[in-house]
Subunit: 509 residues, 2 copies
């Protein structure tokens, strides 16, 4: 298996600088945490954040590149992490907990999904973390370079193929382990949560249930309002401080005004302590916007290093700094103070690198967003603290073609997986899915926030952010989080109890 | 749209001679009625069989060749037949009845699925018959010749792609008709029934229910015994006459013995009135075996011309002739008398053409059977009237590679669609599927014959054959058939009632 090459520079850029998509209608495409995708196997330094180290074996499984046609494509090696130390084994029908790998290195997701590891001993479960194709080490065509070469080599990077990978893998592994009678429970967060929910719906014969955390399966077409995402980010700031919200909302005009002045770009470069002279004001705007969105996602009540080292309630800290500047501090200086919480909480950075958008290359999530995962977003005039903008599919489409030779199919996901009228569709169809969400998370707006049926349920917390329930428990966990996890455990236990009862009934017959 | 070229010879061969696969472990691969696939748009003569002519418009829809990757493949024109004369329209949420086209010309299936046409006025329903890709006129790459050129061009002929075709088509049509609120009910027989059931399971957001008639979704891997199919065919003969069963069972040895004699092939040629001298005894054996299997499928209680012009209870007639020969008639002469019911009920044929197996070329079902639709079959020593043989995947695989450059994936269908433990899987998952079967039909052995849940139900008739319930009603319909159809209508009405009630409830909220 070829391993993606990782230069030190890449790592440093990753740690110090978040990245943004090439300017798109002067707006970065909101993304999950996917920029971690290709270039960031956790380094040893970042591993120290885990109070409880995880243990697993790394294995590889030869997968068909194309499950849905019989064209003569080469197989690829799918990486998966496995831990069976707590498994009670096939004879006792020990459960298998499968985390649906998302758009990034699976090791990173494994390390950031402590809930599954903590549950395994309690349930006597096997733990499996299969990696998503085209991420981490699971590269078709032998290497990252070949896999990401062009639209043709990338064409098999789809959610349906990834789900089929999981289905084939677990079916084969169970056969090898003589574990056909063992129930599989799916877990997933963010895009991985979408995969978990979809997998339960499409492959009920393979998994008895799914915990889909922060899974915005409704963030497509016209199912939810396009403003939802940025409205929630904005609310997260406004609830901390309306003056903070207003400062940020005013900053975009200030930015543009200065950017258009003579030597304005140089002025901005200084104000924001950039390592290189700013080329376009939009690059700086994107850099700021990304940070606000990520801050909303990881707005956890305790300090974390999920994306960046951050304090607890990081938006509160951003606003404390923005609001706390001495009188006379300019809007942009305030914004810089605030954003430093995100980009430089450790205080070690002397200057900041904006990723060179001309050199961003193709990353996996860009491809997915430009093909299937077309999530329309806009920024509303009144409720959003971001620049106002409308969703414009046409310019999005043009960008995808120009950058990636990709042709978006904006109605495909809802055709393949549904979404419209989800309550009517699933009220009498399907079972055993938990949609868990925290309302601080901007992705919660596109997720399922109401119970659909007795066993397709929504667990919603007011104070939660992006799939916080999947993280390792900490001493600082608030009560609502402890309770949320207990509810999840009870539901999963219920699925397993039902499975074993039916197994027993069939056996007794 | 290029239309498949049809020579008169092809048509004559089709009408007079059933076809068989190239000899495979000296056994034809059992098939549905799929040999009708490419070369048999119904000719005007055959149309006369319909008491009630059907009316429809023929339209074409541009489909993506590959729904599950974003490779740059050309679109193709999918043909579909549509009739809206009875539709009460979108404002009244008129239902849409969609027949899942199977492995053949859609016109032929439309003409042989009278039930849907008879139901439409009763339900105020739109009728849609989309054609399955790679059959009839729905040819990728512009022509049948190009579509069937090689394994690469054929590679997109899969059930998953066909289901996605249906999903995309109906979604687009509903949008065009402003009929998003109209419920879709699926129908399908045989392979089309498998597609209907799978479509309801995989696309619950697209269709509210499915009538899957004679759909052997369990005829894969080890889910049902491999002998099931030929055991049922054999039982169909034995129940008419044990001497008839015995004569056929003895005939294989007689055939081989004579075939091995000097001038034996010539003798067989004469006994069976073949137009050309027999080249291999196996070709004749295949020709006979095919006929017995098809006779079991179309063992209807009234005269039909579904495959061939046949009397009612055709197996009874075969056995009457076999048993009725004067004393001293040889086993093979008896068999010839019997088989003539199938191949020459009109009495017009002077001699019989065995299809030249060296020239059979690729047909669609061969490809599907050699890729996904791997249905293991064997013939048991005691219960079967056919030659004993075991299932041999290895030689099957070799044949597929040699003939079609196809690599079977024998565990793929159950991975993608399930099948093992179907009752446990679907007891608390899914709804609104009818599996209807007649126990005379050899495909019933691989179908669902027991209720799975309150709304995934099995309707089984003792005397029914291959999807007889989907045929036009006739004056000769026995009571059990009338009742079976009434049960189906009640269930479908129930699905629609529930849909409208929920629609109303949502509207009243």
């Amino acid at each position: 298996m070829a391993k993606p090459s990782l230069s030190l520079i890449n790592l440093i850029i990753f740690i110090i600088v978040t990245s943004s998509l090439p300017s798109l209608q002067s707006k970065p495409l909101p993304r999950f945490l996917g920029k971690l995708s290709r270039s960031s196997p956790p380094n040893s330094e970042r591993r120290h954040q885990h109070s409880k180290p995880i243990q697993y074996e790394t294995r590889y499984f030869p997968q068909n590149l194309d499950h849905f046609s019989f064209s003569d494509t080469p197989k690829f090696q799918q990486r998966y992490l496995v831990n069976s130390e707590n498994w009670v084994g096939p004879q006792r029908h020990g459960p298998i907990f499968l985390y649906c790998g998302n758009e990034g290195d699976i090791v990173w997701f494994a390390e950031n999904t402590g809930f599954v590891w903590e549950l395994a001993p309690r349930f006597g479960a096997m733990v499996l973390f299969p990696e998503h194709r085209y991420y981490g080490e699971s590269m078709p065509f032998g290497s990252e370079e070949e896999a990401y070469k062009n639209a043709s080599t990338l064409s098999f990077l789809t959610a349906e193929q990834a789900l089929a990978d999981f289905a084939v893998l677990i079916t084969e592994l169970k056969r090898n382990w003589s574990a056909e009678g063992c129930p599989v429970v799916l877990f997933g967060g963010s895009y991985g949560g979408m995969l978990a929910a979809w997998m339960r719906l499409k492959y009920p014969h393979i998994a008895i249930g799914a915990l889909a955390s922060s899974a915005p399966i409704l963030q497509f077409e016209d199912i939810v309002p396009t403003e939802t995402f940025y409205d929630i980010v904005s609310n997260d700031f406004r609830r901390e401080s309306s003056s903070c919200f207003n400062t940020i909302k005013e900053s975009w005009d200030a930015l543009m005004t200065i950017g258009q002045k003579q030597n304005g770009l140089l002025e901005l470069t200084k104000t924001f302590h950039l390592c290189r002279e700013l080329k376009k004001t939009e690059d700086l705007a994107d850099w700021l916007e990304s940070a606000y969105s990520y801050l909303a996602m990881v707005n956890y009540p305790y300090g974390s290093e999920f994306m960046m080292p951050l304090p607890g309630h990081p938006i509160r800290e951003v606003c404390r700094r923005i609001d706390g500047c001495p009188d006379g501090t300019s809007t942009l200086e305030r914004v810089f103070e605030g954003i430093s919480v995100y980009y430089n909480y450790s205080g070690n950075a002397d200057c900041f690198e904006l990723e060179d958008t001309s050199d961003v290359g193709t990353d996996g999530w860009n491809w997915q967003a430009c093909t299937e995962m077309v999530m329309p977003m806009s920024s509303s005039r009144d409720r959003s603290m971001f620049k106002t903008y409308d969703y414009n599919f046409s310019s999005f489409q043009d960008w995808c073609w120009k950058e990636l030779n990709a042709k978006p199919r904006p109605t495909w996901i809802t055709t393949e997986f549904g979404g419209h009228d989800i309550k009517a569709t699933l009220k009498n169809f399907g079972s055993n899915i938990i949609f868990s969400n925290g309302l601080l998370d901007p992705w919660s707006g596109g997720s399922v926030l109401q119970n659909i049926s007795q066993s397709i349920v929504a667990l919603v917390t007011e104070e939660g952010a992006h799939h916080i329930d999947l993280r390792f428990s900490t001493k600082g966990d608030p009560d609502w989080l402890v309770e949320q996890r207990e509810s999840e455990i009870k539901l999963i236990q219920g699925w397993l109890d039902e499975f074993y009862q039916e197994k027993k009934a069939a056996f007794d017959m």
